[in-house]
């Protein structure tokens, strides 16, 4: 056999080679190149196109770079209201989702129930159901001829139908429904790693269950809440389908503003500026999360 026994082991173990192994380097590059190319062409390029577009003075035939469209977007009460609504929607959805998801995550991480596996399956299965189907479902539940109105009418509590769709809170409901599985998974994965003996220790030392939870378990699981919140927040500020289908034109969010500007009024630089504001919102959240993780791991 021509290959010495030591060399491949080192190559596979990833130990630092004594000198650069060009064959190994080449195969590493070959392995990563397709993925890097995919993201460069399919993510970075469109992002840079969008970034450039947001600074052009007009399109087509740009002649100069300008901040005009940013000042326009950030100075216009119409856009400001949309931006404000989008971020408050994301905040409300994140808080509600975290509160609702925590006990479910706790159940998945701690319970000795026989049905735990089934519960897990039931929590993640909605992820596989089309968002359009789910919006139709909410229409059937909340609509004027829907389930809730039929129930209330049947009980004699109302005469005419209640307007449950087309409101900020119907969009919140739809978003919470979509995002709960993400939050449960994030929190459960962290809760599962916490050694139960910490809580037991606190309990033995005389802390009551509530105090034990607030002082020991909750702080230890903050990281799961934080990573879940980042996902939920980012997915909410970029959401389009749910606000359109449950808001039915009454709840304008940034995603709809971008679509309007790009496709309906074909004002690309303005649309690009709104898109960049949205992207910056996402980035700020990610940076805040990064800072939080650094501070948190130092403690």
């Amino acid at each position: 056999m021509s290959t010495p026994a030591g060399a491949p082991t080192r190559a596979l173990d990833g130990l630092p080679p004594r000198r650069i192994d060009y064959g190994r380097l080449f195969s590493l590059l070959m392995l990563l190149a397709p993925a890097a190319l995919l993201l460069a062409v399919g993510l970075l390029w469109p992002f840079l196109t969008m970034l450039r577009m947001s600074f052009l003075d007009r399109y087509p035939d740009p002649s100069a770079l300008t901040l005009e469209y940013y000042t326009l977007v950030l100075g216009d009460p119409y856009f400001l209201r949309i931006i404000g609504r989008t971020f408050s929607l994301a905040l409300v959805v994140t808080v509600i989702t975290a509160v609702l998801a925590y006990p479910v995550a706790w159940f998945l991480a701690r319970s000795r129930s026989r049905y735990k596996h089934l519960v897990f399956l039931a929590v993640i299965s909605p992820l596989m159901v089309s968002i359009i189907v789910r919006s139709i479902g909410w229409t059937i539940v909340l609509g004027n001829e829907g389930l809730i109105n039929a129930l209330l009418h049947g009980l004699g509590l109302i005469d005419g139908p209640l307007q449950l769709m087309q409101s900020f809170w119907s969009v919140v409901l739809g978003m919470v429904h979509i995002l709960i599985p993400f939050m449960v998974l994030s929190i459960a994965s962290v809760l599962g790693k916490i050694d139960p003996s910490y809580a037991e220790a606190a309990y033995v030392m005389g802390a009551n269950p509530v105090r034990t939870f607030l002082k020991v378990t909750l702080p230890l699981s903050v990281q799961g809440i934080a990573s879940g919140s980042v996902i939920v927040f980012c997915l909410t500020i970029g959401a389009y389908v749910t606000p359109v289908m449950l808001g039915r034109g009454k709840v304008l969010v940034m995603a709809m503003g971008i679509f309007e500007q790009m496709v309906v009024t074909v004002d690309w630089p303005t649309g690009a500026a709104v898109a960049m504001v949205l992207t910056m919102g996402t980035m700020l959240v990610l940076i805040a999360y990064g800072l939080f993780l650094r501070r948190y791991s130092r403690r």
Partner: protein, 275 residues
């Protein structure tokens, strides 16, 4: 008896009221999750012309309407085709990258992994609009290949993640054995690593198929007349008529999804892919 034993014994035999409350709460949340999904099923068999609940009669006419409308069938065909091709491509790209990230140690590896996962949180509406701006001078708007690229970007992280998860479990000694016995890197990958990664690849394929089949926001910028996916066609239909046809299509989709969930659960265990 140690204190921890005493503790768990005091908890174990009878379900405490706290535990019962928690179980009840979990049931309520599951009900909340299931409600808008399963409520479309009875409406699919409704004889009413609107999505009113409860339905006043039983009929199959909305299923007949669904089959008679050519656009839904055509759109379903395109969606399926797109999902399959995008999944195959993403799986290849994702599994190769996974091998690079797990089996090789190099500076910046964790950062690179994070970069590869960005499509998961990058706002879809921005990506869709950006791709539309980029594609329009290239003539890739309303073009199958443009759609394919977009769908690969969104499905790739799922393929990468599931590949990474299984690759961590594949025993490196097996690869070393093949390598020591004279197989080169490619043959080792092809005949040893790849077959061992099969469960992860299957799970990745399932997720990727579903993500691509359901993709709406990005596709809405890139598709158009003559190139419509099923979610877009369904959305367009609801814009004009909210009748149970859409519930009938949803019911068919739910049945297909349920079968997919059962298959993947039997083959690889859905739970394993998340923990």
């Amino acid at each position: 008896m140690s204190s921890s034993e005493a503790l768990s014994n005091s908890h174990a035999p009878k379900a405490t009221s706290g535990e019962r409350a928690l179980s009840l709460y979990v049931c309520l949340i599951l009900l909340f999750l299931a409600l808008p999904i399963f409520i479309v099923v009875p409406l699919a068999f409704s004889s009413d012309a609107s999505l009113s609940f409860p339905p006043h009669g039983f009929s199959f006419r909305w299923f007949v309407n669904m089959v008679n409308r050519q656009e839904f069938l055509r759109a379903a065909g395109l969606s399926a085709m797109l999902a399959v091709v995008a999944t195959i491509c993403s799986l290849i790209v994702g599994s190769l990258a996974a091998v690079g990230l797990v089996r090789y140690h190099f500076p910046g590896r964790d950062t690179l992994l994070m970069v590869f996962m960005t499509p998961l949180i990058f706002p879809a509406i921005v990506l869709g609009a950006g791709l539309a701006l980029m594609f329009s001078p290239l003539g890739l708007l309303r073009n199958f290949w443009g759609l394919l690229l977009a769908h690969m970007v969104v499905t790739f992280p799922y393929c990468l993640r599931t590949s990474l998860a299984t690759l961590h479990e594949v025993d490196k000694a097996l690869e070393e054995a093949a390598y020591t016995l004279g197989a080169n890197r490619w043959r080792t990958f092809r005949h040893v690593t790849l077959p061992l990664m099969r469960p992860g690849l299957l799970a990745g394929a399932t997720f990727s198929l579903i993500i691509s089949f359901d993709e709406f926001t990005i596709t809405m910028f890139l598709a158009g007349p003559g190139l419509m996916t099923l979610p877009l066609e369904m959305y367009n239909y609801t814009e004009f008529s909210l009748d149970p046809t859409i519930a009938a299509i949803s019911t068919v989709l739910l049945i297909i999804t349920s079968i997919a969930i059962v298959i993947i659960e039997k083959l690889v265990g859905l739970g394993k892919q998340f923990s």
